[in-house]
């Protein structure tokens, strides 16, 4: 009987990097799926276990739907041949400046980030984009985070739904709140989320958080002569006073920011203001990105051109697109319409897509490659190759090295540069929010996150309790739903696109949705495409709540 090997590694789904153990038999390289052998191990970080997404790690790793071979328009070809063909095509189209764009994900390793930078130089382009798009606004923050200190906090002020996006922080946060009488948990958001029942919750209308925080900062500067009533945005006038009082009074206060696609408008302004508020009140400030290593990748690349890439795609100015770690048809809203403008598409993805019009390489999971990532505490963590990649899958780093070797004919040695936060740029005063809705679009639609889905939901949908759900779902205020007399399905139209949704039962979620608001989980591609692809006032693609109507 062969021995069982254990690998201590980290969960790849969020930046908290929870610890887990993978066990496998070396004889057949199989990772044990049935999990008498699947375990977790405690460490100072998670101190507990994994969230629902993390528990499905092995299901994703062993998924029968995973892409195992390189495919061109659905037909299988060998890895070496595909790399040769891709490099010769890339060589041709990169003769002109900025004709190729590269989109890199926040789940890549730091080494892959350096290699992408080298590849862009070789391909004569400066067009590098980052996804998840909402994370780009967070890269100027130097995270002041410590798992140990968080448990000792006497005040936690959460902007956004931390419990939905990073559920494994819930224990530390609740431990801190319950530790001593007088410890407080405050939550500021645009709907009541998963954290709200546990917190003193302040809800402002969609699109108004930046304006609220701008006034909050002004109030901190001049508390004597400030007209509270004019700026409280539907909250009791004393909300500013209460939050400010708590932040100034506490000794070990924390401000946490967590965003997701389609939720907050102007996240860069929000982050900028929160950082200033934290400094002014002498508290810690940390952001919780969606990607596992967004903070590292973002800081290595330094400058992103998401909106230029999208504009050029729409105008037909681009000849080639490389998306590393995601299928562009699921990532970019309306890509079906603009993909015909491209001569060459290369993508690395977990799941195969039969009608993909370019080169689709099988992507590796973070357990299947080596590298390093930056943790929430801004420390570098190394990842070892716990299991060999499935089929022909190679890591994006290896793929880029091979492409670079074919294109330039020399071995690649990535230049290692210091990793530091990007420079802050000043923000403009947020506009006074007026209602987003109008006669043509009487509803406001916003995105929110669920902790038990991955990607498009295919993974956790295999659960019994999720099978009956299917999707995509739209959630609406139950009273308004009754009044409108809607059927089981409904079409949502926004200024950018339209999609059909099933009506979800809001009582299944710990959310509370106000009237005239439609809420959609943003992991569904149908939800993402509703939000369009426009730059906000700070120059980022980070759509917030939008106008919408039902048909």
């Amino acid at each position: 009987m062969s021995s069982i090997e254990e690998y201590r590694t980290t969960c790849p789904f969020c930046p908290v990097h929870d610890k887990l153990i993978l066990k496998r038999k070396p004889s057949n390289n199989a990772v044990f799926r049935k999990s008498n052998l699947f375990g977790l191990y405690y460490d100072k970080k998670n101190d507990r276990g994994l969230c629902a997404r993390g528990n499905f790690t092995l299901e994703l790793l062993n998924s029968p739907y995973r892409n195992r071979n390189v495919k061109v328009k659905g037909k299988q070809i060998s890895l070496d041949r595909a790399i040769k063909k891709c490099s010769s095509k890339l060589k041709n189209i990169s003769k002109e400046r900025n004709k190729v764009a590269i989109l890199i994900g926040g789940n890549h390793t730091l080494e892959e980030g350096y290699l992408v930078k080298d590849l862009s130089e070789e391909l004569n382009t400066e067009l590098i984009g980052l996804f998840p798009f909402e994370d780009e606004a967070l890269l100027s923050v130097k995270n002041d985070f410590s798992f140990e200190d968080l448990k000792e906090a006497d005040l936690i002020f959460s902007v956004g739904d931390v419990f939905s996006h990073s559920p494994t922080l819930a224990k530390s946060i609740l431990d801190a709140r319950n530790k001593k009488r007088g410890n407080r948990l405050l939550a500021l958001d645009i709907i009541r989320g998963r954290i709200s029942p546990f917190a003193e919750s302040y809800i402002t209308p969609p699109g108004s958080i930046a304006y609220f925080l701008w006034n909050f900062l002004r109030y901190l500067d001049n508390r004597e002569n400030f007209e509270l009533e004019k700026t409280a945005l539907g909250l009791p006038a004393k909300a500013l006073e209460e939050i400010a009082g708590s932040l100034l009074k506490c000794k070990n206060g924390w401000i946490l920011f967590s965003n997701i696609y389609g939720h907050f408008s102007s996240p860069y302004t929000i982050v900028f203001l929160l950082e200033k508020i934290a400094r002014k009140t002498g508290n810690h400030f940390a952001v919780l990105p969606v990607g596992q290593n967004t903070l590292g990748i973002g800081r290595i690349i330094g400058k992103f051109n998401n909106s230029t890439i999208i504009n050029r795609l729409k105008n037909g100015d681009l000849k080639g697109l490389l998306t590393l770690g995601a299928n562009p048809f699921e990532l970019i809203p309306g890509f079906e319409d603009i993909s015909s403008n491209l001569d060459f598409i290369l993508s690395t993805a977990f799941f195969s897509s039969e009608d993909f019009p370019g080169y689709l390489f099988p992507s590796t999971f973070s357990f299947e490659k080596e590298g390093s990532v930056i943790s929430l505490e801004e420390e570098i963590e190394t990842l070892g190759e716990a299991v060999p990649p499935v089929g022909d899958a190679i890591s994006d780093g290896n793929l880029i090295s091979k492409l670079l070797y074919e294109i330039s004919g020399k071995e690649v040695k990535a230049k290692v540069l210091p990793i530091k936060p990007l420079e802050w740029k000043e923000v403009k005063e947020p506009m006074v929010p007026s209602s987003l809705a109008d006669k043509k679009f009487p509803f406001i639609i916003l995105g929110f996150g669920l902790p038990f889905h991955h990607g498009d939901g295919e993974i956790t949908r295999r659960m019994n309790w999720n099978k009956k759900r299917g999707g995509p779902y739209l959630f609406i205020n139950p009273t308004q739903l009754k009044d409108l007399g809607l059927g089981k399905k409904v079409r949502v139209v926004t200024p950018y696109s339209s999609s059909e949704f099933k009506i979800g039962n809001i009582n299944e979620l710990p959310f509370d949705i106000p009237k005239s608001v439609l809420a959609v989980p943003t992991h569904y591609p149908e939800s993402r495409k509703l939000f369009g692809f426009e730059q906000d006032r700070d120059g980022f693609i980070s759509p917030g709540a939008l106008r919408a109507r039902l048909e």
Binding site: G49, A52, N55, F163, K171, R192, F452, E508
Partner: protein, 161 residues
């Protein structure tokens, strides 16, 4: 005679964030059988509900084929080879935690992850719970009586708790 102290899974409703991590851990580790029930109180809260492994267990009493048996350590063990899917136990269970599997139409129930207990570890749902709502603690019969007032606690709290 009541046992003085037993190890049981206890839920702190003030900590459950309804993330379903316990469901997933249970499902993944029990050969994709679904052993945890959900409790809906006033259709506003979604909480995990475990088999209580009752001292005087109605499910064991009614089972016509002895598929459910009480072990010496107090654990109520389900033998799936004996179960004929008559669902008598689901009607007998006062907590409504026993449910039939969708495919085989027999019962699947919490076994307290006895394989892990023998190794000195906690049940999987307890170990995975990210908010610390589930704990595996020694309780007495008197404690158990005190813990039964979940519904009133939820009603007493504002909004959803």
């Amino acid at each position: 005679m009541k046992k003085t102290q037993v190890m049981r899974i206890v839920l702190d409703v003030d900590r459950c964030i309804s993330c379903h991590a316990c469901d997933v851990a249970c499902y993944e580790s029990h050969r994709e059988k679904f052993s945890l029930s959900r409790a809906n109180f006033d259709i506003t809260v979604d909480l995990p509900l475990h088999c209580k492994h009752c001292e005087e267990s109605a499910c064991v009493e009614v089972c016509p084929v002895d598929a459910l048996e009480k072990r010496e350590d107090g654990l109520i063990y389900h033998n799936s080879f004996r179960c004929i899917g008559c669902l008598s136990c689901t009607y007998a269970c006062p907590f409504g935690v026993l449910k039939a599997e969708r495919v085989r139409h027999i019962i699947s129930k919490c076994d307290l992850c006895y394989d892990r207990l023998e190794e000195g570890e906690e049940p999987r749902c307890v170990q995975t719970c990210p908010s610390g709502a589930l704990s595996f603690v020694p309780i007495t019969y008197e404690d158990e009586k005190e813990m039964g007032r979940v519904d009133s606690r939820i009603k007493a709290k504002p909004w959803r708790r």
